[in-house]
């Protein structure tokens, strides 16, 4: 009798464990997902591609480091009158970093998704200097069609000032 009860108990436990194992938890598609890689082939269904979450947390350490190093408005206020008379060094430095990232992305298509992520984060960065944001935003507008990456451009949190400045570049 004891053996039967123990066997039944064992069976119940095993059964319970088996039942738990079959309850798969699916992560819902992120609501804030903003980029999706669209395949070059018109036949392939883009929805089957992984949709990365577009925010600064998804950046690789190098890009994140660059994003965090971009000059902010308060950095300008710390400069002298002579330093701001022409384009300040910190702004030129930011341009160099972004330019190098874009050059890298042109040469390595597999990095473009992440670079687009970086560009969007930069464009929306409220504290980042408007001229730098404008450079990032300009690159977003140019590369969305060129790289065939979906970005909800109309929803980006980009001020009118940044939009206006970005249109100054040919």
């Amino acid at each position: 009798m004891k053996k039967i009860i123990l066997s039944l108990a064992a069976l119940l436990i095993i059964g319970f464990l088996f039942w738990r194992g079959t309850q798969t938890t699916f992560s819902p598609e992120p609501q804030s997902s903003k980029t999706k890689v669209v395949s070059d082939s018109p036949v392939k269904n883009p929805s089957l591609e992984a949709i990365p979450k577009l925010d600064s947390e998804n950046l690789n350490p190098e890009l994140l480091k660059t994003l965090e190093s971009l000059p902010e408005i308060e950095d300008i206020q710390a400069l002298s009158a002579e330093e701001v008379h022409h384009t300040p060094e910190i702004v030129i430095e930011a341009g160099k970093k972004i330019g190098e990232i874009m050059e890298e992305a042109e040469e390595n298509p597999e990095s473009r998704e992440e670079v687009m992520n970086f560009l969007v984060s930069c464009s929306e960065g409220e504290n980042i200097l408007p001229s730098v944001r404008a450079l990032c935003y300009r690159n977003v507008l140019d590369k969305v069609p060129a790289w065939n990456i979906f970005v909800p451009v109309a929803d980006l949190k980009v001020t009118k000032e940044v939009q206006s400045l970005s249109s100054s570049i040919p």
């Binding site: 341009g95 330019g99 450079l135 451009v153 929803d155 100054s168």
Partner: protein, 371 residues
Amino acid sequence: MKIIVLATLLFTISSSFAAEMYGGVSFHSSVPVDQMNIMKSDIDYLYKKPVIDPDIDFLKLADIPRAEGPYLHNWLLNRMRFIISENFDLNKNLTRKFFHRFPKTPNVDLGKLNSYSEVAADEASNPTIIMSNTGGLLYITGKRGGTLLGLKYDDQKIMAPSTRVGIVQIGAGLFLERFMINDQMLSSANTISRLGTYFHEARHSDGNSKHTGFVHEKCPLTHPYAGYAACEKSANGSYSIGAYSERHFYRNCTDCSTADKGVLAVRMIDSINRIVNPSFFLQRAQLETNIKSYQGIVDSFENNLRVTEDETQRKKYERQIEMLKSAIVDAKAELERINALDVPVLLDATPEGDYKVLSLVDTMKTMEPAK
């Protein structure tokens, strides 16, 4: 014999203090040879670079009839003629002429004048001088004091009866590595960057009355450069001319890398951001660019929509297309409204005072090889 030796010696000594000319530009003897050679290379680039895609905005703002090199060189030479170095002692070489009759026009505001002179000479803070329009400052200061000012310049005296005297001071900052686009001093990108600075300073040789010299204004409180005299209200001031000249060369640069273009672009935007009251002229240009960009994205999304089967993704595309199309409609309506207005949009750049205009033929002759 002794007389011949003495005469030769005197001639050699005086020659070493003589200014050197290139492309119509005179370089004071104090200008280091390496800096002079770089500027000569820049003048050659300006004059000889083929133009494939002229920047029409730049030509309109600067009132240049054509985009070819000789026209741009002529514009620059009419405003930038004498180059002095940062080691040139302004006070020691200052000269005066009394009883000069200045035009009876209002003076530039004193507040602005103080900010104008900050960059020209601030010995207390020992700034890194990039470039400044000394001639403009001499004219404005002289007019305020009722005395014509000028400089002893090697073996001659150059007086400033107009901002168009074209005396410009260059400093080490113009050639510093940390301000460069890349590490090749004579690369197209660095040349373009310096040319933008030349055009910026040259613009300070224009203007009349209260806007003589197109002196900079204090940036408003909401601006990133709030409180600094680093802004301007007119669409055709120095920051504007500098930025749009760089944009013209940027468009025509055939060997600028993507990285180079990133830096040049941020310089342009930084300058344009200092125009605090963008004229309808600029707004018009910006609206046109926006319409074009958005349309490019709409076309791309519509193409993708045709091949996308996933309903969720289709909805995302459709929503974006709808919003962007709406933005295009708004931009077109605003453009139509602006086009219908008849307002003066640019400040009169005509300089005041006594000056001579160099013709295109005059300035082209300066680029002919020495016979």
